[in-house]
Amino acid sequence: MSLTSFQRALCDLIASPRLCLALRANPDATLAPYELSARERKRLTTLVWQRGMSTNCTLYRSNRITPIYTLLNYTCLALGSQFGILIDQFWEVKDYRDGQFKSEVERFGIFLRQRIANGVIVSPFVGELLDFELARNELEFTPRKQVLRTIAHLGPPKADTPCRLHPLARLVRFRHDPRVVLSAAADGIMPPLDLPVTEVLVVLSVMDGALTVMQLAGATLFRSDNAASALMAWPAPQFAPALADAGLLVPFTATDGAPSATVHVV
């Protein structure tokens, strides 16, 4: 138990410069939650004064920020000066169960969506860039050949065939012109805050290998998490011609299960 507790204390210290400072100031109170031998206690109280502990704390932060900054680069850019505060709050949650880039980024995405819903996020572009980057990441981590094998037997849908979105495609709703927002982000800047609001649906696809991004003509469709209508959950090509024309609908099969997101036709 002692070694387990020692390792937990060491990791807690590496993850929190504030805890290191607390240990320097008040060793007994700071180490009270841990079951430690006298030697382990002495080690920890010594380590927090070493330069190497600062290095470890910095490396920890660097390691954890890397997946977020790499895979949610545009989102981080849009967050601007709020990013530092939010990332500290995110790390306070202490739900870091693995070192997987994908799951870390998805957890941060959930965290940010809560903050967006609560009105904490200042930039109007964060939501759509977050949705865009999460969709892109999801596709890039999808085993494309395996997916194509599993749907190879499905023929093209008829006009009234219940369908679902192609598993190698995602829909993202932008509230501003996606060309302006994405090209600004690619240049490392954000568009002006008074950019006109408009609903635009963007399709991301890796069906042909490389990622393609295209804007669907007209705001005829939007994505919603409200699965209220079975018909709309499985749109037939006749109700979603823009998706059908782009080859983005595949026939629904009984093994598909419930939709994770419903495509509504308006």
Partner: protein, 304 residues
């Protein structure tokens, strides 16, 4: 001295030469010139997304990465260098992950398997597994040695090829340890029946930061157990010299390599590591130059 089992296992593996640790820059380099290296070291964990214990399809492979392994199969041999065994965790076991590694052994025929003398998984107060966010070093104590050796012995039975443990980079200085690092590593070789992956850049980093004599370290180490050597570059960061794999290998590391070559009879390969984020600065020429440097040293001592 090595155990009879390990000696026999190693006897079946020819000396390979010079290799490189796979990163996203490697496929382009090797497809242009497969003769650049004699083997490829891969970190299997990087080739899949792990959805965690209990997930149905837990390991989803990244096809763009495994495509390269399919290309390289038959052209170059592979060795495995995992990052997820968390050998030093006081409480951790992940049988499904070990089985996944064993499956990859069967699939890609890794000539040996290595992981790090550190831990990355820790059990939280509420009983959940937490990731440490980095490879956390271990104090060189009897208790830790017994624990790691037992884990290594168990792993040896799961993989069909020799198991190596890599010496860690350590920025902390644990007071009052039971033994020195070479004593710990020698003990691990004896008790764990394993070989060593001697990372000379880790050694150089530790010696530079903690001001000790790397050559004295090497004199105290059982060099018979060294099967693979890592060389890499580093950089100053956060007040210390770090093992960042930031490009070219520093001159003192090449000198350490020269120093051990005549005294490592079981050495099978020298692996150059660099982080792909530094590739634009290092360039293909830089990688080729580092590999050529390693090959020149290898050839001087191994090729008659």
């Amino acid at each position: 001295m090595l155990s009879l089992d390990l000696s026999c296992d190693l006897a079946g593996i020819g000396a390979l030469g010079v290799g490189v640790l796979h990163n996203p820059a490697i496929p382009g380099l090797l497809k242009a010139d497969p003769g650049l290296v004699d083997y490829i070291a891969i970190t299997p964990d990087m080739f899949w997304t792990d959805y965690g214990p209990g997930s149905g399809d837990r390991f989803i492979e990244l096809e763009s990465w495994t495509d390269f392994l399919d290309w390289a199969t038959g052209r170059l041999p592979f060795v495995a260098h995992s990052i997820g065994l968390s050998l030093g965790s006081a409480e951790f076991s992940d049988d499904t992950y070990v089985e996944q590694l064993a499956y990859w052994h069967r699939r890609y025929g890794f000539l040996w398997h290595s992981d790090h003398l550190s831990f990355a998984q820790v059990r939280s107060a509420s009983g959940f597994e937490q990731h440490a966010g980095m490879a956390v070093p271990l104090p060189f104590d009897e208790e830790v040695l017994d624990m790691v050796a037992a884990r290594v012995r168990a792993l040896r039975l799961r993989f069909p090829s020799p198991f190596l443990v890599e010496n860690a980079v350590v920025y902390l200085d644990f007071p009052d340890q039971d033994m020195t690092e070479p004593e710990f590593l020698n003990g691990l070789v004896r008790q764990g029946d394993c070989g060593l992956l001697l990372d000379l850049h880790n050694l150089y980093t530790n010696a530079r930061n903690h001001r000790f004599d790397a050559s004295a370290f090497l004199r105290a180490l059982n060099l018979d157990a060294v099967v693979e050597v890592h060389v890499a570059g580093g950089s100053e960061f956060a007040g210390m010299y770090t093992d960042s794999h930031a490009g070219r290998c520093p001159e003192p590391v090449w000198l350490l390599l020269e120093e051990i070559m005549p005294r490592t009879p079981n050495l099978k390969g020298i692996t150059f590591e660099f982080h792909d984020s530094y590739f634009p600065r290092l360039g293909a020429d830089g990688v080729q130059e580092q590999l050529a440097r390693a090959r020149a040293i290898w050839s001087r001592y191994r090729v008659q």
